[in-house]
Structure formats: structure tokens, C-alpha cells
């Protein structure tokens, strides 16, 4: 297999790049492309972010009147709200020129979760006990070692490459084909959470803008390209070549993983006044955290 899902992705990329080059999304200077700026936010100590919030440092909002109509307008107008948020200090926002579309996909994913993924995951969790599900998650995670190892390599994180290769050898043998994460438990070799999106960030490429992908959830332009690239690095695609079998295995992995995370999305929703904005920001802050590591 391998081929057809990739076509879907490339189609998506095509649509996106078409949008990019026609819409002039980048016409407005984006505050988010500057990665060095962001590394300040989380790495600095508590006092740093304080300075921006001292009374009197408020900046004029320029043309952005905050009218809801304005903010929903076409690509040329976007970025204004992000700019004003960037002034707050303690975290800029990811540009979201596709917000109306993203909000629609957010709703789609929300329903997908509550109507299908959650009930299926809960039913599955009743049949398969938690330790077994953790083992299965470990198995799939061990399988995609090349993605993490190559992502480490492309960032020059040689220690990470070594750890990943060693983990794979140890877990595949002593860990019974990867079902047990003995490398972490007994050798203190933790999983290196690296992916191609982080590689691109390391190379100085900005996130572009926010995309809430149907089925896949929050991502950025950069993250989506990375995800597509990873389709070539995923051994699963070479091992299971039949399209439907491949989709089946991936779905099973997804259900298994979700069954271990039921409640997380609900708790985000319960805590949020605007779940869409909350998820978008949580994704963004989390990615910065991953990239900085």
C-alpha cells in the first residue's frame, strides 16, 4: 500500500499551497515565524514574562477594532488579532487564517470523538485490561522507531539517535517485540519524542499557520508536511502494504491509544470558555515545549 493515503495528503498539500500563493497570507508580518523569540517565553524564569504586563505598557491596537466581523474576514485581514495577543507577553499565538474552516473541522473532530472514538475506546477498554493496552501502545511506538531516530539525526542529536537505536534493540528482544518498555524502566533510556515537524523547526522553518485536520486533530502547516513525510519513514507502511489492512492497523493503533487517554479532551473542554481557542493554544504551547527539548 503506502501509495493511496499519500495521494490524499498531497492533494491536501496542493489545496493548501494553492491557498498560500493566491491569498497572500504572508503579506502581514507574522509574529510566530520568529522561533528565537519563542524560545524566550518558556525558557526564561518567572520574571521575564512579568515585564510585559506592567500597567502602562499597553500598546495601541492599530486598526484592529476587535469587531467580530473584521476578524472573520478574508486572508488579507488575518494576523491582527494574533498581533494584539502577541503583545501580552508570555506567549504569542499561532496565526489562524483558516479559522472558520478550522472551527468546522474542530466540530467534526469533536463529534468524531464523542460519537465514535470514545464509545469504541470505552468498549474496547472493557474487554482489554489496561496493562495490555499499555503494552500494545508500546509495541506500536517501538515499531515507528525510525521516525524518531531519523528526526534526531536530522537535528544532530546524536545521543538521541543512539538512545533510539539502543531502545529498539533492547525492547524488541528483552521487551518481547516491543510490548515492554524495558529500556525506559530498567536502563533509564526514555523515548525520544522527536518528529519531522520538530526537525523543520530546528532548521528554522516557522509553523506557518494553524490547521485543525479532520481525523488527525491540531497541527500546523509545518506539522502537516512533517506528518506527510513520516508516511515514508513509517515501517508499518512497508510491512502492511494492502491499503485497507493498513488503515485497519492504523485505526486499531488509534483506538488503543485513545482508550488510554479518555477523559483528557473532556477535561480540556470542561475547563475552557472557548474550547477551540484553548485547544489551539494548548497545541501551540505543547509544540514549543517539544521543539525546545
Amino acid at each position: 500500500m503506502g501509495v493511496e493515503p499519500k495521494y490524499v495528503v498531497f492533494l491536501l498539500m496542493g489545496v493548501l499551497s494553492g491557498f498560500l500563493f493566491s491569498g497572500g497570507v504572508y503579506a502581514a508580518p507574522s509574529p510566530v515565524l520568529d522561533l528565537d523569540h519563542h524560545s524566550l517565553i518558556h525558557e526564561t524564569d518567572a520574571r521575564e514574562s512579568w515585564g510585559d504586563e506592567v500597567p502602562g505598557t499597553e500598546q495601541p491596537k492599530g486598526g484592529s477594532t476587535g469587531s467580530p466581523v473584521l476578524l472573520c474576514q478574508v486572508a488579507g485581514q488575518v494576523g491582527m488579532e494574533e498581533d494584539s495577543e502577541a503583545w501580552e507577553g508570555g506567549g504569542a499565538s499561532i496565526p489562524d487564517p483558516l479559522e472558520p474552516v478550522n472551527r468546522a473541522f474542530f466540530q467534526f473532530n469533536d463529534k468524531l470523538y464523542f460519537w465514535i472514538l470514545k464509545p469504541v475506546g470505552q468498549g474496547y477498554a472493557k474487554v482489554v485490561p489496561q496493562p495490555a493496552r499499555v503494552s500494545i501502545r508500546n509495541f506500536f511506538s517501538n515499531l515507528v522507531m525510525p521516525i524518531r531516530a531519523i528526526s534526531c539525526l536530522l537535528q544532530g542529536k546524536m545521543e538521541g539517535v543512539g538512545i533510539e537505536v539502543l531502545r529498539f534493540v533492547v525492547n524488541t528482544t528483552a521487551g518481547f517485540a516491543g510490548f515492554q518498555d524495558v529500556a525506559r524502566q530498567h536502563l533509564d533510556l526514555p523515548l525520544q519524542d522527536e518528529d519531522l515537524g520538530q526537525v523543520f523547526a530546528f532548521w528554522g522553518i516557522g509553523p506557518g499557520f494553524y490547521i485543525d485536520l479532520p481525523f488527525l486533530g491540531p497541527s500546523s502547516l509545518r506539522g502537516t508536511v512533517g506528518w506527510a513525510g513520516q508516511l515514508y519513514l513509517n515501517p508499518l507502511d512497508y510491512m502492511v502494504e494492502d491499503v485497507w489492512a493498513n488503515i485497519g492497523v492504523r485505526s486499531y493503533d488509534l483506538v488503543n491509544r485513545s482508550s488510554l487517554r479518555i477523559g483528557e479532551y473532556e477535561s480540556l473542554k470542561r475547563a475552557a470558555l472557548d474550547p477551540y481557542v484553548s485547544l489551539r493554544d494548548a497545541y501551540y504551547q505543547y509544540r514549543i515545549h517539544q521543539i525546545e527539548k
Binding site: 504586563e53 476587535g66 503583545w87 489496561q130 526514555p190 475547563a271 484553548s278 493554544d281 504551547q285
Partner: protein, 199 residues
């Protein structure tokens, strides 16, 4: 192999000694509150739905002692804070504190023997960051950072970040989005509705 097992407890002990030696006041403060909350959550006398209100009250008290609601409110509203009257600030603070308490309760209530590991702190006398790692039963590790400020000789929490996601930054984005799109009053309405629903 057998020898290896005997070495492990010694390392654990050494690690424990090292961490207590490094831990300063901010970590102690966090540890005190965390232990208190774990004691409440795991107290068999407070089990069952009949006792859930009492349990929530006790947790709220423990959290109240440690969290600085005013600092949190000011940081969350950011530039919208100084536009508010004192009455509005107070009203907001009360509601936001209730929302945060509910959020915190929500997270704590599902406690099922997760281990809390204190990983060190950074402090410059007035501000501090305490790093904690929570190890779940599902073999996942959740890094948590408490940002603290010393107020009247007490270390108070003004932000928590979980896997790099700052709670205050997250709420700031949401609140700013609501205020710039509609108004502060509409934010208050939404907050009120949210807090009511949580009860």
C-alpha cells in the same frame, strides 16, 4: 541480575537525599500542599458521593492557601486588567478562582496512586519555578511546573504548566479572544455560566 536489584534501593535513597538537600522553600511549599491534597483524596473516610462536597471543600481550602488568585487574575486579563474598576476586578477574581478550583478539582479527583517526583527548582529570591514529574499508572510521565512568587514571606503559585502548556497563558488567549470579539461583560457572563455548570 540479583545484585542489580539490591543496588537499586540504594540509588533511590541517594536520589532522595540529593533531592531533599536541593529542595528550597518553594519546593517545600509545593510538597506540603501536594501531600495535603493527596491525603484528602486518598482518605477512606472521605470516600463516596455523600462526602464529595466535604472533600471538595477541604481541597479548595488547601489550594486557596497556596494559590494567589489576584496574581493569576491580573496575569490572565493582562492588558485588559487595568481597564477594569476595582469592583469588576474583584468580581472577576472570585469567578476565575472558582473556575480554576473546579479545573483543579477535576484533575485531582481522578487521582489513582500517581507518583509525584520533585525534580528541582530555580529561584531568584522573589520568583521561583518548581519542577515536578507525575508518573501515571499508564507509564506516562507528565512534567509539571509551578511558577511562584514570594508574597508576604509566603510562596504562592501564580501559574501551573503541564507538559509545557501554561494554564494562565491558555486562559489569557481565550479571554482575550472573547473580550476583543465581544466585550468584558460577555466574558463575565460566560465565566458565570461556566462556574454554575461546574457546581
Amino acid at each position: 541480575m540479583r545484585k542489580g536489584f539490591r543496588v537499586v534501593p540504594i540509588f533511590l535513597l541517594m536520589g532522595f537525599l540529593a533531592s531533599t538537600a536541593l529542595a528550597g522553600e518553594p519546593t517545600e511549599a509545593i510538597q506540603k500542599t501536594t501531600d495535603k491534597i493527596i491525603a484528602i483524596v486518598t482518605d477512606p473516610a472521605l470516600k463516596g458521593p455523600a462526602k464529595s462536597e466535604e472533600k471538595a471543600k477541604l481541597i479548595r481550602q488547601a489550594v486557596d492557601e497556596r494559590f494567589d488568585w489576584e496574581e493569576m487574575s491580573r496575569r490572565t486579563l493582562a492588558r485588559h486588567w487595568q481597564d477594569r474598576t476595582d469592583a469588576q476586578k474583584k468580581e472577576f477574581m472570585v469567578l476565575f478562582a472558582e473556575l480554576l478550583e473546579a479545573t483543579y478539582l477535576d484533575k485531582v479527583e481522578g487521582y489513582s496512586g500517581e507518583k509525584v517526583i520533585y525534580e528541582g527548582e530555580r529561584s531568584d529570591g522573589e520568583y521561583a519555578v518548581v519542577a515536578v514529574k507525575i508518573v501515571t499508572q499508564k507509564e506516562t510521565e507528565i512534567p509539571v511546573k509551578y511558577r511562584m512568587k514570594k508574597i508576604k514571606n509566603e510562596w504562592r503559585v501564580y501559574d501551573i504548566s503541564i507538559t509545557g502548556v501554561s494554564l494562565i497563558n491558555n486562559y489569557r488567549k481565550q479571554f482575550n479572544s472573547i473580550i476583543t470579539r465581544s466585550s468584558f461583560d460577555s466574558l463575565m457572563e460566560k465565566l458565570e455560566a461556566k462556574v454554575k455548570r461546574e457546581e
